[in-house]
Symmetry: C2
Subunit: 405 residues, 2 copies
């Protein structure tokens, strides 16, 4: 649809009735600029937490289906209140729940995947010149049961609608000004990026820079919808535009990401047989463990050391599975390390630029940082290092690539 | 469906997580008696009031459509919590919102009428041996917009489902033990009725005895579904069964109803022309005024006095319309009286029994009560009397018909 803008406001942006009124004013002024507007909203502030507490007063382990029935009320409250605030300002408006908007999903409750958007209703309402307010985070499965989308769900709802209706762009309003060269809580002089590519921001998100959930970025990339991340409190700031790479040839470090909550597991002296790594990683996958960096070193003839990293909160489960694997295949021992962090530099094409990687390693060397493991992709170089040096290293690397300017 | 029981629990019955757990235990024990069970639930305690307050913080006059989106979350929360409580007790259960249950309604938001129940989903769930928990008070109109049913809505939802699935009976759990011969707050020795007819309870409800909303009783009568009103806190008490009259010939006073909040309007010296009463009452109907008793007295040649009663809260609007009417047709003046109440005796066939009406009037005469107006139907005799004498008269009439025994 021509001249269509999709906006998404998170829970803090609609955390009180006063904030809802502010958001309504912002929406109405955008509408009066002549735009078609779809606005996706999350539940107000701590509503979801309060609903979870209520459920747990009754049942410590309720079924995911019923949790979804319960939790989806949070967004339904915020869409109706936002619509009422817009009514007061004199614009035509309609709120639609996930089911009403035709947000079809898989049946995996609490973390359903969007399978399609049936956009007839939305288009009809837009044609009647209404602002359409949509409940994020929720949908309907093929049994017409209510589902929720899990982490990053509302962002993903917004992008899915923007993609389905071919919007000009999708603006994600949040409590930060945009995507930064590094986490400003660690690197005080981190700079806001005006522009970054989907791939770059994906690496930043999955590496702990965390402004946007990877799901929403992947979807935006797939349908080539420009994403804008901006603050709902600071209207002056235009945020960060996330689009496709336009200049593949310039290799520049765009950002530094740090993931501090890493656990490393090493399985020592694994017999070198075909399919043995496959066996380990399929056992871990069956245990729903998400593996990140994998390194396999040939130690001496016929045995290997296999190391990999997992998120801190999956370390215990991963260790249990690794012990079982080691016993099964006759490996010598399993070691783990909770004291590591992962530091990454991100930028399209940087791996192909030896000057960049050498500056990265030189900076770490000068700090006396011991690198446990290195892994690379087209657009990032990651190292595993001691946790207690991680923040210091991050600031030094940020300076080394002049990202503070 | 054979062996099907529909139960409805009101807001006070599910007013806290502990009460929800109690209700769940009751439901599960009924289920283990071998019943198919559908349970209709209202919003928890004061949830609806809190949602209304939230809306009014934003907009003093929100659209009915958006209010319905907001208010329907109340029942959605209680159905999911009740389902979770039943899961904990080990029975199969599923919660369904009004839209999911196929509760089709008119499009009049905030007071929609049920147009039909699409019961396929419910039947499938019952066949899988699940207890089905249904959100009362809400439905879906032909645009797939969420509607709410207004006053008495959850009772009506329950009866509509019971009718659609041909249930054995529909139990309405509330905070009273059943239908009483009179309001126990006024008549201390009022007795609980074990059995009463639809028609009788309809008269009691519409005359202010108010346990059940007339809508739900009318629907139960239409589909001949036995209704049971009973307490959700006192399981020993079997409540009151409401069915068809079985003994048309015995004229007995079943109950005394009092409506204290009555306004009376009299239009004096209305010219006696054909169609003039029609003009008045169509003007009032157009103003959405609900008229109750109507009396027309011929005063002298060619002019009439017309009196009627309305609910207290519609008196102001009714007066405005009456003044306009009086001016249009050349009536002499409009008077109103806020100090009247309506007292009624109810029982099938009582009008045809002169002994009953004479005992009624004799009792009032002995008390020195001045009767303003009398109206009768097949099963009730109502009088309009001074408000300050109304409670005293009610107690005396209750005694006169030996309802206290």
């Amino acid at each position: 649809m021509k001249n269509l803008l999709v906006q998404k406001y998170g829970g803090t942006s609609v955390g009180s009735t006063d904030k809802i009124k502010n958001v309504a004013e912002k929406i109405v002024s955008e509408k009066r600029n002549g735009k078609h507007l779809i606005v996706v909203v999350s539940a107000m502030g701590d509503t979801t937490d309060r609903l979870v507490d209520l459920a747990h007063e009754i049942n410590a382990n309720p079924s995911p289906r019923e949790m979804d029935v319960l939790l989806s009320t949070g967004e339904q409250i915020s869409i109706s209140l936002l619509a009422m605030a817009i009514e007061l300002l004199g614009e035509k408006v309609i709120s639609l729940t996930g089911p009403q908007v035709g947000m079809h999903t898989s049946s995996v409750h609490k973390r359903a995947r969007i399978t399609g958007v049936d956009d007839k209703r939305v288009i009809n309402e837009l044609k009647e010149n209404k602002i359409v307010i949509v409940a994020g985070f929720q949908g309907l499965d093929e049994n017409r049961d209510i589902t929720t989308l899990g982490r990053g769900g509302s962002d993903t709802s917004a992008v899915a609608i923007a993609a389905g209706l071919d919007a000009d762009k999708c603006e994600i309003y949040t409590d930060v000004d945009g995507v930064y060269t590094a986490d400003p809580r660690i690197v005080a002089d981190a700079q806001k990026l005006n522009k970054v590519s989907y791939t770059e921001v994906l690496e930043m998100a999955s590496l702990g820079a965390g402004v946007l959930h990877p799901r929403s970025v992947e979807l935006a990339q797939k349908y080539n919808i420009p994403l804008v991340v901006r603050s709902s409190f600071n209207h002056e700031n235009e945020g960060t535009i996330i689009t496709t790479d336009e200049s593949m040839e310039t290799a520049v470090v765009k950002g530094i990401a740090l993931d501090q909550d890493i656990g490393k597991i090493s399985i020592m002296e694994v017999p070198d047989r075909p399919g043995i790594a496959y066996k380990l990683f399929s056992m871990l996958a069956a245990g729903n463990i998400h593996i990140d960096m994998i390194v396999q070193n040939t130690n001496r003839a016929a045995v290997n050391d296999i190391s990999f990293t997992v998120a801190d909160d999956e370390l215990q489960d991963a260790l249990d599975i690794s012990q079982k694997f080691a016993f099964d295949v006759g490996a010598q021992k399993v070691e783990f390390d909770k004291g590591v962090s992962k530091l990454s530099i991100i930028g399209t094409g940087i791996v192909a630029n030896p000057e960049i990687s050498s500056r990265f390693f030189e900076t770490l060397y000068n700090l006396g940082v011991n690198i446990h493991t290195i892994s690379t992709s087209e657009i990032k170089i990651s190292v595993l290092l001691d946790k207690h040096l991680a923040k210091k290293a991050m600031i030094a690397v940020h300076n080394a690539f002049e990202l503070n300017q």
